[in-house]
Symmetry: C4
Subunit: 213 residues, 4 copies
């Protein structure tokens, strides 16, 4: 079931290593099916190169297995928590992408100091507190800390991004690492400046209403 | 129409991700046709992997759509402004390449401290002021700040390069990031020194008159 | 003989350049056959692109050549020393991966400040003393310094990782560089904090008992 | 003529972009034919992707064109100078590889603080003075500054490596960037220490007499 979403998620998973966001089996992407409300997610501990659309695990929002021969990602409970709290979210990505995770390691948000950040995130990328892996704790931190952004850093851990589609969430994960890298580089050679709230608003509105096809 | 230029621009767009100058749909290349004066440019928000020669949008210098089913890049008005002000410019590239954008983020020019910079740019890479995206404002900053260089940094935004052909502009974008990276690395381990004006002139003259076939 | 292990090691060797852990002929992977106790190892000074399963050298634990037309890795005596001292180790990897080797260059362990480190290593990555290449000296440093970790840094040299299989040792080498990079990046923008022993234990236990299929 | 050497040099040129040592048309490799004494070198300003074995230019040691339809590299006079002064050198490589060029930019040698440096270079990588491109000036700096090393940095410019074969020179160029990167990374997190002369000698002797097949 949900063959198209399985295939879409498989292709999106391949973007993670291609964009240097994950290593070995780390990271995961999930998507919510608008009709059934079911969530499709990566199986736990499977390498990206070996992943097949048929490996994806389908769960309902309460964590009941709907279809799948493999054990789901160990972040599944947190993904489901986010989907339950945020009906607008249809895709979620988790990575340990290095530059963004460096900010997470020291518990610092990424200030909105580039037009690309205003465009994609509409503000800074916030950082949430430390939480253990395996249950809903990480999902709670994400929901509490993410605000109106589509990305949040998890203290000493990594990155979660959300979107109105799985593709949008993967794009947010790619852009999070891209801006984290540029801001990190900038911080070594000078003082970054926050863009004014008016300009951030103007750039974000254009990007979300005019940009693209 | 302009099939050859469409194909050339399509190939040049592929150099951007290959040289790690752009992520997802960011960045764009345009070229001016010497006969018609029309400008061929990337469509807005299309991923590089999905781009086809037939997707390119053809505009006249005043921004009238000549051919194309897709909406042109949101930087189109700025490209056209540059083409109108600078009849010598036949190709333009915009990227957010990370090392160069780090200099842009903190508003610092890249000093001419490497022979490769003297060769390609004939001086430092200047930095222009902050401008909002979507209209001609960025084009004005580019024209005002670029001087005799073929690259300019945009405050808190990214890079524009220009050339006597689209290929020359793409080469300038590749070299901008390459020298930005080396200078950034050098600044972490010591003090960079500017090359004397005479040596810069001598290197640049050789590179633009003797180097190559 | 040991065709399957030869093939496995050949494929695992290809992961080293793919993950940017080695350059040219540097680095090596070995595996111990559970039945015969023989060790299969990379030949000395052969490039990864040229390596074939049939090039692998088979030795017994005392260093007697069992099969192979090529000279074994110059780290062979150290690999064999580790296998003799640690019956639990079935795979060993050696790299000079850059971020981890940067910590090794200055003789600093990598503190356990990321959940990914708690997961994979169950603690910090320790650093052992300087030793010359060619004999068992490096093997002794590895055994003395590695403790309960699966990775150790060698002062002014590089990285050794061990595992219950060659694949596990390669995974440890990939994760060592990944966390070394993130921690290195974090150290440039703030103060990294060690995760509490209880949380490290909890994360490591989950990762080694629940994670994966 | 010299078909085999042309083919060898063409393949070696491809190693330069593959190892991220060059961008666009920068850098070059040459080789000396042991029988004729002729030098085969890259044509000027040709992109690596477009290079063919038949594009290589053959010169004699005094700079007379022996065979080739294209103009030779603008570093040809310097390559020839090195070959005339150093009969032991059979291959030369020039790059602007970023980490090594960062040391060159600030005029600092790379201290011998890693076993991989003792192995490959038998000491530090020295840095020579500034020289203009196009004539023999760079060749003179290389010969004066390189000493017993197989690599030298050129102030505010880049890297030259030499070898007993073109492959050895390319290997030296790859290893120069690899150790430059690791030493650069190490310098950001601590104080690098020079390895004792005895240990450097011992490691270099083993590497050049025992390592490999």
């Amino acid at each position: 079931m949900l063959e198209r979403l399985r295939e879409e998620l498989w292709l999106l998973h391949l973007e993670l290593p291609r964009n240097d966001l994950v290593k070995w089996t780390g990271g995961n992407v999930s998507g919510r099916d608008p009709e059934t409300g079911y969530v499709v997610i990566k199986p736990s501990g499977v390498r990206y190169e070996a992943l097949k659309p048929s490996d994806m695990v389908i769960m309902d929002l309460e964590g009941k297995l709907i279809e799948g021969a493999l054990k789901p990602s160990s972040d599944t409970a947190s993904h489901l928590y986010i989907y339950r709290q945020r009906p607008d979210v249809m895709g979620i990505v988790h990575t340990h992408s290095p530059y963004a995770t460096a900010f997470a390691a020291v518990g610092k948000p990424i200030p909105v100091c580039l037009t690309a950040m205003a465009d994609e995130f509409g503000g800074p990328i916030p950082v949430g507190g430390f939480a253990l892996i395996g249950g809903e704790a990480i999902g709670k931190v994400v929901v509490d800390a993410i605000g109106t952004s589509c990305a949040v850093l998890l203290k000493q851990h990594g990155v979660f991004t959300i979107g109105a589609s799985p593709t949008a969430a993967v794009k947010a994960a790619v852009m999070t690492e891209d801006v984290a890298r540029t801001v990190w580089l900038a911080m070594q050679i000078g003082q970054v400046e926050v863009i004014s709230a008016d300009d951030v608003e103007s750039l974000h509105h254009r990007y979300t209403h005019v940009y693209g096809q």
